[in-house]
Subunit: 333 residues, 2 copies
């Protein structure tokens, strides 16, 4: 596939460019997800592997390493590590959120039980660290263990922020970093670090991943109130029904008068929702410019991602990363 082909989606272009290396990553994932002793583990992990997913995070690691001229083989283990951490997080998230579906399939906690999801998630975390040790790079181990701690911190913060109108934009940003941006940032940073790229390049890759992840999550949160359902994602109002404190709600609450505040307290904090409440919520968001502000924030984070690529060496894959930052916000332009 030519990179110049008009209409090529940048995530697909990235996948096409890195197809051979991603095959190697997928082989490592299959091999290391098995377990000699506990038959439940391959059952659960096979379910996850079959469900697929976009594998965007390992692609970022491979891409960053290639852009920085890496010639070794450790980036394959590293990309698999990143995907393992992501998958372990999803398993635990589904327990925490009591989710029933993920990527269009029943979740592991529904098919087996919460116990299996917790313990198989722990297994994948441990396998991730084993793989990282194989790279022999203490720098990379530092990046990804720091990321794992920040991810867990963000998830815990989300628990206490949930359904709490006192949640502000700062807390929202910390939660979004924890649940999305930190692993995007670490995936990019680790790819540069394994290639021993200069510090400003590694830092540029980190800031790129951070901006990309935040923009991606903000677009998602915007579309839950503002977009047309695209048939593959969630439907309008899912976050509202789950009473999530996403940025559109936070902005509307910040601008609310007493009567509006009573509305938000009822529908979000108390969960007492009736017909017409979603429409009322969206009307309040429009009145206070909350959706427009969320959209503008998403665009600004995508900008920051693109700018961060400046010190990164010229490379066709760098152009794709640049386009990817455009692409994640294209749904709201």
């Amino acid at each position: 596939m030519s990179l110049d082909q008009p209409g090529t989606r940048p995530d697909e272009a990235l996948r096409a460019e890195l197809a051979a290396e991603m095959d190697a990553v997928n082989a490592v994932i299959r091999e290391r997800m098995a377990s000699e002793h506990a038959p439940r583990i391959p059952e659960v992990t096979a379910h996850l592997v079959e469900a697929g997913g976009k594998r965007l995070r390992p692609l970022l690691t491979l891409g960053a390493a290639r852009i920085c001229g890496y010639q070794g083989r450790h980036h394959v283990d590293l990309a698999a590590t990143v995907e393992f951490i992501h998958t372990a997080t999803l398993l635990h998230d589904d327990v925490v959120d009591e989710s029933a579906r993920r990527r269009g399939r029943p979740t592991a906690n529904l098919l087996w039980d919460n116990k299996s999801s917790v313990l198989v998630g722990d297994y994948l975390f441990a396998r991730a660290f084993q793989l990282m040790v194989r790279t022999g790079s203490l720098r990379v181990l530092g990046i990804l263990s720091d990321a794992a701690a920040r991810i867990a911190e963000g998830e815990v913060l989300q628990l206490t922020a949930a359904r709490n109108l006192a949640t502000d934009a700062d807390t929202y940003l910390k939660v979004v970093r924890g649940k999305t941006a930190t692993l995007f940032a670490a995936a990019c940073e680790a790819g540069g670090a394994i290639a021993a790229a200069p510090d400003e390049v590694v830092e540029g890759l980190r800031v790129y991943g951070d901006g990309l992840g935040i923009a991606f999550q903000m677009v998602d949160d915007f579309l839950d109130y503002g977009g047309a359902g695209d048939g593959i994602g969630k439907n309008i109002g899912d976050d509202f029904r789950e009473r999530k404190l996403t940025l559109p709600v936070i902005r509307a609450v910040a601008a609310a008068d007493a009567e509006e505040r009573a509305f938000w307290t009822r529908v979000i904090e108390k969960g007492d929702q009736h017909d017409g409440d979603l429409e009322q919520a969206m009307a309040l968001m429009v009145r206070h410019g909350a959706l427009e502000a969320t959209r503008a924030d998403a665009l600004a984070w995508a900008d920051r991602a693109r700018i961060a690529l400046r010190p990164v060496p010229a490379h066709p894959l760098r152009d794709i990363l640049h386009d990817l930052a455009d692409y994640v916000v294209a749904r709201v332009i």
Copy 2:
């Protein structure tokens, strides 16, 4: 406290000898259990720290390092790492077992919720890996990431083995290694490895920890059917009521005739238990020598632990480790 003082318990002697270093370990634990961003984390971890616990695993790490003549400071971080992995495992265990009490206090999953226990456990795992990276030793990182994977594997195996009469002594041993012996072994091995002790010494320490952990767990499982309640541990019959496939049950089932097998199927697999069933179970164990066989196995593993210490350099702390292997089985002699 003199080591020669008659009646000194070896675990207390170990604690007394290593008091200054354990203070440093406890300071690291307190410092690293905090979280800047998520207030729920220090709440949960403070609850765990206050509950105390024997901290035997970090003592083994400190002791092994000292015996091997280690002069650096990384053993303190390493000992804290071992305790973090242990604490994370306990948090997740309590979710999996739906436990209400741990160390005489309500469990975190009861005081907060399962979500907090899962996510704070993840946070502690990540903090453990961060601390390990600080030691700069890839060998130690390998030992403890392998251990973490085996622990999770053992826990998953225990899930599928639970309440299943097909569980045999081999599976039991794998489960016991996963839930207890692997971390004891890794705690000892890592202490030797950080001191760069010769391979046969590091291996001796690993086998010692493995034998100690297995003996400890077998004694526990024996006492659940055979010992007098000691006021601090569990009561006779707890494992029976929870329908656990511990070694005394496995040995009795292996020797059961058709009628006895029907009994075990009813009480363990179906969980249909009545007055007198515990007494009947204990009578069957005595008839088939199941308790005696469990006791003999525990003593053999303690022997193996002591023998494994032979290549380890002479040191007062080595003598304490030797006594500790006697001590864990003293309750069944």
